[in-house]
């Protein structure tokens, strides 16, 4: 087994606490912002800080440094600890629900790959702006894990047909296709224009009535039932079951060694 290089840089950076717009930046480009336990802990702390800030944020922007938005779970760590993947699935479910339920409008700004857990995180955001060269998908059956954990939000957001092919097929789609199926809401080209266009979107949201935004988001959550805890829990449980199998451990080890 290859050694997972220990990356002790902070997973995230939080800017703008106490203002209308808080930016959370995934800040480990060297590991393609992979999700390990520390990632989820840092994210929880960031969202705690947003919730406890003196002035509540109207908009939370989620962005990433580097060429990848988020490559999904840290497979090196999962290969080293057979129980970790299931734990990460549980944390991913909790994070997705938390993002969906927070009062602020959450915007994801995506360049490069947003895969598996990274795609699930993007799908839980309210508005997604992405480059044409971004990549989305759930290539997780090849490591023996079911993407069920992401499906309650995904299927209700983009519809059953598109969610079915994306989750079962495992293929990656580009930004244009993601916009066509409704996973992305604003498409940017070239990639260099992403920061500027994201800034314009976030500023325009910050100028809306914050109370109206909060009330509308809460109502949408009720209408599309994406914050239903029972469904989210059952979906997470289904994915966790697959992550605890011998099949999954063997497949993760094989993929990681390659």
């Amino acid at each position: 087994m290859s050694d997972a290089a220990v990356d002790d840089t902070p997973s995230l950076r939080v800017d703008g606490l106490g203002t209308a717009v808080v930016t959370i930046t995934l800040a480990r480009p060297a590991s393609r912002n992979a999700m390990g336990l520390q990632f989820f802990e840092a994210f929880d702390e960031a969202l705690d800080a947003v919730a406890n800030a003196s002035t509540s944020a109207h908009v939370v922007l989620l962005r990433a440094e580097g060429r990848a938005f988020c490559a999904g779970f840290d497979l090196g760590a999962c290969a080293a600890d057979p129980r970790l993947a299931a734990r990460l699935v549980e944390r991913l479910s909790e994070l997705s629900q938390r993002v969906r339920s927070m009062p602020a409008v959450v915007v994801a700004s995506v360049q490069g790959p947003a895969l598996a857990g990274g795609c699930a995180l993007v799908a839980s955001c309210d508005i997604v702006i992405a480059t044409t060269s971004a990549r989305f998908g759930y290539p997780v059956h090849r490591i023996g894990i079911s993407p069920a954990v992401s499906l309650p939000i995904l299927a209700r957001s983009i519809g059953g047909g598109a969610a079915r092919t994306l989750a079962l097929g495992g293929e990656l789609i580009d930004g244009a296709r993601a916009q066509a199926i409704g996973l992305v809401h604003e498409l940017v080209e070239p990639e260099a224009a992403l920061p500027e266009r994201t800034q314009a979107l976030v500023e325009s949201l910050a100028a809306k009535g914050p109370g109206a935004l909060r009330a509308t988001k809460k109502w949408l959550n009720e209408l599309d039932r994406t914050t239903d805890a029972t469904t989210a829990g059952a979906a997470a449980h289904a994915s966790m079951g697959t992550a605890l199998t011998e099949e999954c451990h063997a497949m993760i080890a094989r993929v990681w060694e390659r």
């Binding site: 997604v128 983009i158 809401h185 109206a212 509308t216 109502w219 949408l220």
Partner: protein
Amino acid sequence: MPVERTDADGIVTLTLNRPDARNALSLDLILAFRAALDQVRVDQSARVVIVAGAGKSFCAGMDLRGVMDDPATMGRMLRELAEATVTLRNLPCPTIASVQGAAVGGGCGLAVVCDFAISHADAKLGYPEVDLGVSPAVVAPWLIRKIGAGRARAMLLRGGTISGTEALAMGLVDRLAPQAEVGSAASALAAALMAGGKNALSVTKRWLNELDGSWDSDAVLRGATLSAEVIQTEEAQTRVRARMNG
């Protein structure tokens, strides 16, 4: 008459008729529209219903002038509009929105309740409610059914308006025609729909409504209550008044 009805061989056209106010939805207009829809539902002569707007614009949305200080009337307008959308959706025949100029807020709500919406490339459509501190809660259930929950979420939270071309891409409208020909495109679609069996169309529509929950007025009425609550907040009062005086 705030709403005009014309009948032509089974095609009933209901025209919102306040062109000087861009057909903004006043209480009078909403009540007249409801009454016209009830009539269509009862007399059963319609094979297709076209909803249109007189003048340059389809509908500028709720007419808030004169009711900002009158929460009771405001609440009633939203409730009556909600009831009208449920009746419109559950008519037994296909419905077409013929959208020229602008369809904004509640006006865009009427367009998406119809089975088909026809517009033109540079029309202005959308839900700028949150820009004014108002919530589009009352139309949200219909928009979700039309374009899906994810797109509806992004659209309602972003506010603003989009062009007819963008609306076509996201499924908010179903076809585009040159601006001067939107009305005739709606008539042509109505004529094409007349080729279908009345009973078969009615059964298909009822089944689609059953599948997507359109018969359930509860969510729409609760949305109306929520919209009415949000419009009474200081945020909304300040922003709407600034817009009216601006």
